[in-house]
Symmetry: C2
Amino acid sequence: MAERKYNFSAGPGYLPEEVIEQARHDLWDIRGTGIGIAEHSHRGKTYDDIVVETEAACRKVGNIPSNYKVLFVTGGSTSQNYMVPANLLAQHETADYLVTGYWAERSAEQAPLYGRVHRAFDGGKHNHTFIPSDSEIRYSENPSYVHWCSNNTIYGTQFKKEPKVPEGVPSVCDMCSDIFSRPVDFKKYGLAYASAQKNIGIAGTTLVVIREDLLDRNPRELPLMLQYRVHARDESRHNTPPVFPIYMCGLMFNWILAQGGVEAIARRNEAKAKIIYDVLDASSFWIGHARKDSRSLMNVTFRAPTPELDEEFLKEAAARGMEQMKGHRVTGGMRASIYNAFPERGCHALADLMRDFERRKG
Amino acid sequence: MAERKYNFSAGPGYLPEEVIEQARHDLWDIRGTGIGIAEHSHRGKTYDDIVVETEAACRKVGNIPSNYKVLFVTGGSTSQNYMVPANLLAQHETADYLVTGYWAERSAEQAPLYGRVHRAFDGGKHNHTFIPSDSEIRYSENPSYVHWCSNNTIYGTQFKKEPKVPEGVPSVCDMCSDIFSRPVDFKKYGLAYASAQKNIGIAGTTLVVIREDLLDRNPRELPLMLQYRVHARDESRHNTPPVFPIYMCGLMFNWILAQGGVEAIARRNEAKAKIIYDVLDASSFWIGHARKDSRSLMNVTFRAPTPELDEEFLKEAAARGMEQMKGHRVTGGMRASIYNAFPERGCHALADLMRDFERRKG
């Protein structure tokens, strides 16, 4: 089979080759049923088993407490921008948002349709180069919840630990780009969500981990499909779910467990990111976007001294089999996304080219 | 590779083996990019091409007029139950619903959140055994739109032609289970939608064909992801779309074209359904659910004289490699779903067993 490239895409991202192999097998015939995974009824025994196993593997990977529901909903994280306030925020209440990047901003923008929004931190004026300390956050008096985004793909910044939210207030986290990249104590969260296409599968489904008491909030009438409690009641099968994307999540959870779980994955992610950040730190040529204490282990953002050199670097990278590294239009430069499944040897390949390029152009 | 069974699932349904083969190849490496289809950025060149080609193939299959947008949105048809009224119905307006089955009922149930609902036909009291003639439908005075479901999977009934809606009123059709199974004149429709997992792909995306002027209806403020006009403006990529399910639609559209298009597919579907209906018509044992003039070419619903014999038949069918034929709980009996991709030889296998079973048990 063809050799595969180093794919630095920010999402949909790299999948482990063993996961792809399994999916290729199961598309034709899963578990000897004579029917492919994408063709099984979502009410049949085979999919029943897959749903149960996928949820169990997810709980094991994340050590998710028993008073939390694990849901696989349709759509991406963008759909959570309205699902969260629609389900948790009454019109007269206030929700606090920590605006630390592009996607956190998008989340804060959708909430005013459902209630009041207070920006407890707004990093826009600092060009989102850093993650605030707890003392830099100004919560409102009695927020309905605090929303934050644990990792900012575009700016390449990441919370090293959870922000300390006011006591009794649910912490709602968009974990889209760093879920299961490190151990997390879900007891500290009211709700966490992550679309699958970065660390836990492919585009088409979003994992929602929600503390059960939050299902009782009922701030307004909503269509059935937009109610977390309906997805919980119907065990993520109120309607035909995105069967293949959810199945892929199951393969990814098992892959993470086979790697030694999130603790082992976290050590690998630290090592992988260090390979690239070490080049930035030793360089007088490359310019990192994120402040050092706020650097993401998932997305390394950097640029050369000029946009022309960025272009040249991207071309050289592509010639060496390193693809999809162009930075987002709001930051320019490069973005190397190195999610769980991205191989360490790809980080070395990038670091080598960065050093070599600096020697020649610096 | 393992031999595959005859999969009569009502959805997710049977996929053509050549489509599965292509998908298996492309999951590893699509078009020599060295990156699998599920791992490509939705903003990159490869996916750009796929989106353009998929839409073009869809327009060709359906002969969709140029003043209609072709959208691939997230979720299933169930999400359209609220998207349709949210986008087309103002609170003081009335929408007419033709309630000809289970899913049409589900659609009608969600609309009152957004406006008034008038049931212009309600087949519930006849146990949904037939499709109304135009004279049996009582429209309201000035409906905002007329919603109907072209094929009722659970009851096995199907509109043979479009209901005649009042002039100037958009006809909104749930085509989930018979889209592209026969030629349709989309000019007669304001909006048509179909989740992919029956005739045009796998679960995880829904095709929406919408006449452009309907994008200008703006009855209320909505989150961006719930606005058809946003999906149209952003060419089905407002957020990360369900890349793999959309790609699968592209493969299916090309497969339909390779079969000779919807005209050829329609002839095959007629012939396939006839193989099974001929057994019902010649039988004094089997009981069909649908009235003869309303029979679906996609889902053949029938039962034996007793539930015990139904069970026995399903077991014998499974022993002969015919799977997922159990009827929905509301109808009982059997449901043989024979969508576009289901092979004719599977219909013969079922008809043979039905005749044989009747000989032994009748």
